[in-house]
Amino acid sequence: MSAIGTLARVPAATFELANVILTAADAPIGQTPREVVWTHRGTTLYRYRSDVRQHPVPVLLVFALINRPDIFDLRPGSSFVEFLLGEGFDVFLVDWGVPDEEDADTGLAELVCDELHWAVRETLRAAGEEELTLLGWCMGGTLCAMYCALHPVGAVRNAVLLTTPIDPSNSLYKKWVGHDQFDVDLIADRYRVIPGSGIDWANKLMKPVTNYVTTYRRLFQSILDGSDPRVSFQAMAKWVADNPPYPSRAYREWITWMYKENRLVAGRLRLREQRVDLRRIEQNLLVVTASADHISPPEGTVPILDLVSSEDVTHLDRPGGHIGLIAGSKAKREIWPELADWLLERSGR
């Protein structure tokens, strides 16, 4: 296109850009039909039914407290849940809900020993099975690892950890909140729930130009080039902007235990007087890392490979970012089939 032609398209493209950004909040996400299986406080266990269920072992999806678990089911045609259902898995999802001030006393022990434990129990009851696959992403993976360490034998047959922080000693978060001058107690005492927008702002600040400039410049460029990025951009933008608050106790414990004291990898983390020792993990384990992950870099995840007692351990390191690896446009062709293959081999009776 000539320079004059490009310039002539700029006003229309600018108008379209504004429309795409301003209407992102209306984009439909999480469209796959689901049923409520169980609720407790703000936590809800959902079930997605497969029309072609082939594998008896159900998959229980667990996401982080930051952002909502809709990323597992972003939009039709680009939904990990939809993909798993198509592969014949019975899929369940733990939704931590949207905490408010009354949830200030929810800590890691409540999340792992109560909510997750009960969700596992309810999943088995609903599926009529005795074992399941626990699939955690980001902090959800860390919670799953803690759960597996506390329950090495029993309900969980397979554990899948996607871009999961285990040893964050070299992460940027550690530089920001791991030093003594960051008074986590002051923040946690003053906020009963940490505003999600604050955490989102900090996350975006890790790559400020990429998040605040490049994303929109690329969007504008693609509109100018005549492509239609509306559907894909809006779904992801809506998910990124949906930041639930973070219970202050969970925030205090996460920052202190993971970033200030690095207890998990050292085997010094205790939940309800029980030591969370990753060496006790015996489940079949799949660890997925993304080589360009700046939130949970691979070097912060791989220590778990040397710690666990599992005989069946697989590590996949693939190009991509923290979220893009699993929810990006290439995921359906690249990482999802690999995950399904791994699960398929381990989900029979």
Binding site: M1, S2, A3, T6, E35, V36, V37, W38, T39, H40, R41, T44, D100, E101, E102, D103, D105, H117, W118, V120, R121, E122, L124, R125, A126, A127, G128, E129, E130, H151, G154, A155, L172, K175, W176, V177, H179, Q181, F182, D183, L186, I187, R190, Y191, R192, G198, A202, L205, M206, K207, P208, V209, T210, V213, T214, R217
Partner: protein, 150 residues
């Protein structure tokens, strides 16, 4: 032809901009990874937290003096509800565990009414849960597993 396109002013400007953006991004990423930036961030977070708390306390004080329920009152009530829900959840688990332990007699093969737990989830979740109950009955695919993870 392709060569002349790749060197057109359009492309050159675009490449230059992308280069500048990439270098700026790198510079900012280095900046935010400095320890001093971490300290700045910590101080900023503390200041914002303090200001927010002051604003919140003032608002609560005004509402209280007007004899209106403030956020703190709503939170207190919600916490009481949570405690009740916690007790109910544990009670339901005990009941279900006891039911699972009962010997399977012929009467257990009769269709069961939706469990108290499911009924509660349905009442919370409204019409969607209602349709689940209608289509699925007790919600399990097969008889309860004899062993529970707990």
């Amino acid at each position: 032809m392709a060569d002349s396109t790749s060197h057109s002013p359009n492309v050159q400007v675009s490449e230059l901009y992308e280069q500048a953006e990439s270098q700026t991004a790198e510079a900012f990423e280095q900046l935010v990874s400095k320890p001093s930036f971490g300290v700045l961030l910590a101080r900023s977070a503390e200041n914002v937290a303090a200001l927010t708390r002051i604003g919140s306390d003032v608002a609560d004080l005004v509402l209280r003096n007007l004899r209106l329920a403030g956020r703190a009152d709503v939170t207190r009530l919600a916490r009481q509800l949570h405690r009740t829900e916690d007790k109910l959840e544990r009670l339901l688990q005990e009941v279900e565990q006891l039911r699972d332990e009962l010997p399977r007699t012929p009467s257990t093969h009769k269709p069961r009414a939706p469990s108290a737990r499911r009924a509660r989830a349905q009442s919370v979740r409204g019409s969607r849960a209602q349709s689940v109950r209608e289509s699925r009955g007790n919600g399990t695919d097969s008889p309860m597993p004899t062993g529970t993870p707990s």
